[in-house]
Amino acid sequence: MPVLEVHKMSHNFGGLRAVNGYHLEIDAGQIRGLIGPNGAGKTTIFNLISGIYAPMEGEVLLNGQKVNGLPSHRIASMGISRTFQNLLLWRHMTVLEHVKMAHYSRIRYGLVGAFFGTRKRRREEEEIAERALELLDMMGIRHLANQVVLNLPYGAQRRVEMARALATEPKVLLLDEPTAGMNPEELVQIMEIIRRAHREFGLAILLIEHRLKVVMELCERIQTLNFGEVIAEGTPEEIQNDPKVIDAYLGKESVI
């Protein structure tokens, strides 16, 4: 059974049909790519799946359970995690605090622990910190744990976001342009991190990406989106040679 299913999902912004009849099935351990020109609706699809907007039509199923319409923190704690295209980090918090924060829904000490500093709270906070440090280790940014994110270089901030997304212990990970603004060296590193995360956690990953090199290397199947609709779906080779995809990116060849 696919871990994430999306059926006939549509959404309008005013009169604009941003997403139209989107359809997706991902099994655990698959990496899927989502490409398309700017404004095609890729990020909107992420926002709809992760519950930032509730889709107007269609449904989103996680392990067969309907999640659309739930608040986004519920969807996140059920196992859909994501990163953001334009790095939505918390500017005054340290790297470690970022990753600890993603454990929020699994905190059991409650308000009593928060107000009175019980032993249970101390133990839990220590456990969370330990797990967070392991993730930071995996991302290669453990030495930055006590730095405030504002002071970090861009590549490190991307890793913080990735560590934070993985800390929610997701089943499905939505990556919104994880390599945006990176140089070729950082690109190789982040691809290695995505592969490792995929291998170690057995995640289903849905990836929005503009760099075809990344998509072609990582993804088993790719969907191409234009004006909110899927215009082509297939393996990287099929997509690369699909005339509709070429049209969407380069425009139609006009006959003079």
Binding site: I52, S72, S81, F84, H92, Y104, S105, R106, A114, R121
Partner: protein, 426 residues
């Protein structure tokens, strides 16, 4: 250059004084003042012991400035300087010993010490005791507002309203149950029981304030930013005019004759409890969620943080402590009227929060203490007081936009750590 280096080595001598050493020094100084303060003040030409470190005298009679400075030096400066410096080794040994004990025991010892210092200092005259109690209440009030305006990044104007709710609730409780008076009739319970039930009165006040906060929060937390400021300002006016028109609590004439239960130890213990629980809260991951919501709410909810619950809990919690502060305030002054909880109180507490530092427990303490003391010290200048304090605030906003000590919570282990070697000071 040489003089700056010698000054630095001179100053660095005190960098190895642990907190307990400073406490010893301060205790010595205040005890000295208690014992020989009066003759010493006469000897240096002052009429009596200066109430607030001589600052109050300097403004009233500028000619006495040298005498006041001399007094301050003799009573506070020299004894503290010498005692702390001389006792570095034993103080560090003691600090090490205390540090090995369970953290609860250590904390109690330190708090006991702090209380002893304040008790001796405030014992000199009633004015000092009153200023100290009001300052402690200001700390609670400022800290509770900082949870919203600093940690959560919203702008709440309703805190004086929460304080009023707490003050009136606690007053009605204590006047109605334990005091024979004209408004509530004869006492229902024996007055001897009163001091034991005083915490109940305060907590009820806090709960009423939290209930008021719920009324503000439900409609205004759907949106962000200015809306809460406007709704909460409206709430402040509603509470004020509600009390003014409520004949049950004697309207604008106010309630008086509250029993004298808010003595220094009581106020001190409640302040410690307030600082402790708020500090606990903002350092936990549940409390840190406030910062996440403030810095980016969308990211917070994508990382499983229940943003609405987070904001609600913080707002109610903060109002609760404002209510407790109100209850104590009413019992310290033993009089309360609705006029106290207006725009001026709001302006004062906002000044304390922004002066001291946003998102900071230390900052709230510093802000509340410095603005309260300034307010008292500048009293002789009358109306000019309200020019000088805002000017100071403007200067702070220009040079340190987030306040004097922003983004700093209390880390007790770091605070209690002995300072034996250079390696330990990290």
């Amino acid at each position: 250059m040489a003089s700056t280096t010698t000054f630095r080595t001179f100053r660095d001598g005190w960098s190895r004084v642990p907190l307990i050493g400073w406490f010893f020094g301060a205790l010595l100084a205040v005890t000295l003042e208690r014992l020989v303060g009066d003759p010493l003040a006469l000897a240096v030409g002052l009429p009596k012991i200066p109430a607030l470190f001589g600052l109050d005298i300097m403004l009233k009679k500028p000619l006495l400035i040298p005498n006041a400075v001399l007094y301050g030096l003799l009573v506070y400066g020299l004894p503290m300087g010498i005692a702390t410096r001389a006792s570095i080794a034993p103080a560090n040994r003691l600090a090490t010993g205390l540090f090995r004990l369970p953290i609860v025991v250590t904390t109690v010892v330190y708090i006991g010490f702090l209380y002893a210092i304040l008790h001796v200092w405030a014992g000199v005259n009633d004015y000092r005791a009153l200023v100290l109690k009001l300052t402690l209440i200001a700390i609670m009030f400022t800290l509770s507002l900082n949870v919203i305006n600093g940690y959560m990044g919203e702008f709440s104007c309703s805190h004086p309203g929460f304080m009023a709710l707490g003050a009136y609730c606690a007053s009605v409780f204590s006047l109605g149950l334990f005091v024979d008076n004209r408004f509530f009739g004869t006492a229902l319970l024996p007055p001897a029981l009163g001091p034991f039930l005083f915490p109940v009165a305060l907590v009820l006040g806090g709960i009423l304030a939290a209930a008021g906060a719920l009324i503000v929060a439900v409609p205004s937390f759907r949106t962000r930013g200015d809306y809460l400021a406007i709704v909460s300002l409206a709430f402040l006016f509603i509470v004020k005019s509600l009390i003014e028109n409520l004949e049950y609590v004697r309207g604008p004439r106010g309630l008086s004759g509250q029993p004298d239960w808010a003595n220094l130890p009581t106020v001190f213990l409640w302040t410690v409890a307030c600082i402790w629980s708020i500090n606990n809260f903002v350092r936990s991951t549940i409390g840190k969620a406030l910062n996440a919501v403030r810095d980016n709410e969308m990211a917070a909810s994508a990382m499983t943080v229940n943003t609405r619950r987070t904001k609600m809990v913080a707002f109610l919690f903060s109002a609760f402590w404002a209510g407790i502060a109100g209850g104590l305030f009413a019992h310290v002054l033993r009089y309360v009227n609705p006029g106290t909880f207006g725009i001026q109180t709001l302006a004062e507490v906002l000044a304390m929060v922004y002066f001291g530092g946003l998102n900071s427990v230390y900052g709230s303490i510093v802000g509340a203490v410095s603005i309260s003391l300034l307010g008292e010290v500048l009293r002789p200048l009358e109306i000019f007081k309200w020019i000088i304090i805002p000017l100071l605030l403007i200067l702070v906003m220009i040079y340190r936009p987030t306040g004097l000590i922003a983004f700093k919570d209390v880390d007790v282990t770091a605070l209690f750590r002995p300072k034996t070697g250079p390696g330990d000071e990290v």
